[in-house]
């Protein structure tokens, strides 16, 4: 598969160097693969650190900036970052009010962030962690590694980031992050797999008339295959799955997120179906996002993420944010 790269070995570092060159508001440590806001951490503000494998851009590095993350750690493609990186990031954003780790629920992320939190604790930095586990395609049971952290991560980072910007305490910021996670569910579908540069070929094969249901964000196979069908039916499948897990009511924040390889024209077509479906349920879409926010390299597909808003959460969503991936109010 053709990729716009120099070599598989330098994909991540080349992109980090490019991110740094494009955004003077960021400070990028290419060697350690840690992205922070340029300048010193604000004294007394809770620092927000997240991270994960590369390949999900703009998540997480593209969400570093005012009103959202203070630091992001970039692992190898689809591979969790190592504790050293998370510790460097945690120390860099420590403004004396503690640090929140936003951790997507994958075994690797959880283990590496946990190890880093212990190391940070050894150095006297108070760390709280929130684990994001919004994906409804996986049963959260004794029989799985638990639900994956997917689209809700964007909502958690934005809303917790806004509260931290207001000077709230670590406990308060962690609580709002957990609340957003609790009130949010996602479901994703793929039309194609993606190709990890170093692997050289797609992670799985889908036939011309097949789609993959219940995907994650790491290019892995999903829960089931289905025939290709109109986007109206695909959206219904996704929203039925979400609704049966978390009944959709009241004011909603809804995201139609591209997996990286799907053009905007299709994402807007999907959004049209999402808004028709939800109008038919009597719920109100109070806020929305349509675009590429948490991707899986060049996978074609999309995910839907729905959060049941409260007035407070809506206010935090509206708060100013200035990052490469999300920008309003400033």
């Amino acid at each position: 598969m053709k990729k716009l790269i120099n070599s598989p070995d330098t994909v991540v570092t080349d992109a980090l160097a490019g991110l740094a060159a494009a955004h003077p508001s960021l400070s990028v440590d290419v060697e350690n693969k840690v992205i922070t806001r340029a300048g010193k951490p604000a004294a007394g503000k809770v620092g927000l650190v997240s991270g994960g494998g590369s390949g999900h851009e703009p998540l997480h590095g593209g969400f570093v900036g005012y009103g959202m993350l203070d630091a992001a750690c970039a692992g190898e493609i689809f591979t969790s970052p190592v504790p050293d990186q998370v510790l460097i990031a945690t120390k860099a954003v420590n403004g004396g009010a503690g640090v929140l780790h936003v951790v997507k629920n994958y075994t690797g992320d959880v283990l590496n962030f946990r190890m880093a939190a212990e190391l940070a604790d050894d150095e006297g930095i108070e760390v709280s962690s929130v684990v994001v586990n919004d994906d409804v395609a996986v049963q959260d049971s004794l029989y799985t590694a638990g639900r994956r952290g997917t689209g809700a991560t964007v909502f958690v980072e934005k809303i917790a980031g806004a509260l931290a910007e207001r000077g709230a305490s670590l406990a308060e910021v962690a609580a709002v992050a957990a609340e957003v996670n609790e009130r949010t569910r996602s479901f994703g579908i793929a039309l194609t797999a993606c190709t990890v540069p170093a692997a050289g070929k797609p992670t799985f094969q889908l036939a011309e008339q097949e789609i993959e249901l219940g995907i994650g964000i790491h290019g892995e196979p999903g829960r089931a295959r289905a025939p290709l069908q109109p986007v109206r039916d695909i959206v219904a499948t996704a929203l039925d799955a979400i609704d049966s897990d978390m009944p959709l009511a009241g004011d909603l924040l809804v995201m139609v997120n591209g997996m990286g390889g799907t053009p905007l024209i299709e994402l807007y077509g999907a959004w049209n179906e999402v808004s028709r479906y939800l109008a038919g349920r009597g719920t109100r879409i109070a806020r929305n996002l349509v675009g590429n926010y948490i991707t899986s390299l060049e996978m074609q597909g999309f995910s839907v993420t729905v959060c049941r808003l409260t007035e407070t959460l809506a206010g935090l969503w509206d708060a100013p944010v200035e990052t490469p991936g999300l920008r309003w109010g400033r």
Partner: protein, 211 residues
Amino acid sequence: MDAEFFRAWITEVAAVVEAQRDHLTQLDAAIGDADHGINLARGFAAVRAALTDAGPLTPGSVLMLTGSTLISKVGGASGPLYGTAFRRAAKALGDKPEVDLSALAEALEAALAGVKQLGAASEGEKTMVDALAPAVAAFSRAAASGAAAADALAALTSAADAGAHDTISMQALKGRASYLGPRSVGHEDPGAASTALILHALRDVAARQPA
């Protein structure tokens, strides 16, 4: 078995995971995100470089450097899990300049305990534990019954191979493969496969030693 033996083991592991990198990646593509081979190859290459640069070592410090380097370089779940395995083994070996079969058995048992504690996996969940647990049990039994090293190591790798093979029919209850549910059945677990490779390297290095 002295520090040179352990260095040789880990160096052999680096060679083997590089040679098997595509195979491991393919196993991980079937039920994961296609990065296991890539990650282990990168990690053990870094370990090999660290060992080359290191000064005088003991068996324990070889394994400690291995574990710490893996934690710092691999990422994912494999980094913490293999890293912890080697670090726990290292602690069990202490600073003795030479270790015998029963000390090695204790070290492998400590490694297994570390992996089970960190990853919270038991046997039957389609993970590296399914290769490591039977292998360690077989090795410990052989060592305790006074078997020669060659026989104990043969028991180690046979059990590891059988355990890795047994993962094929299991449904994954841990890790990324668990998201696939029943679709994970019919595929060998990449972590179990790499565990078997690491233990084979141990046996192969021992076999090359002059008697």
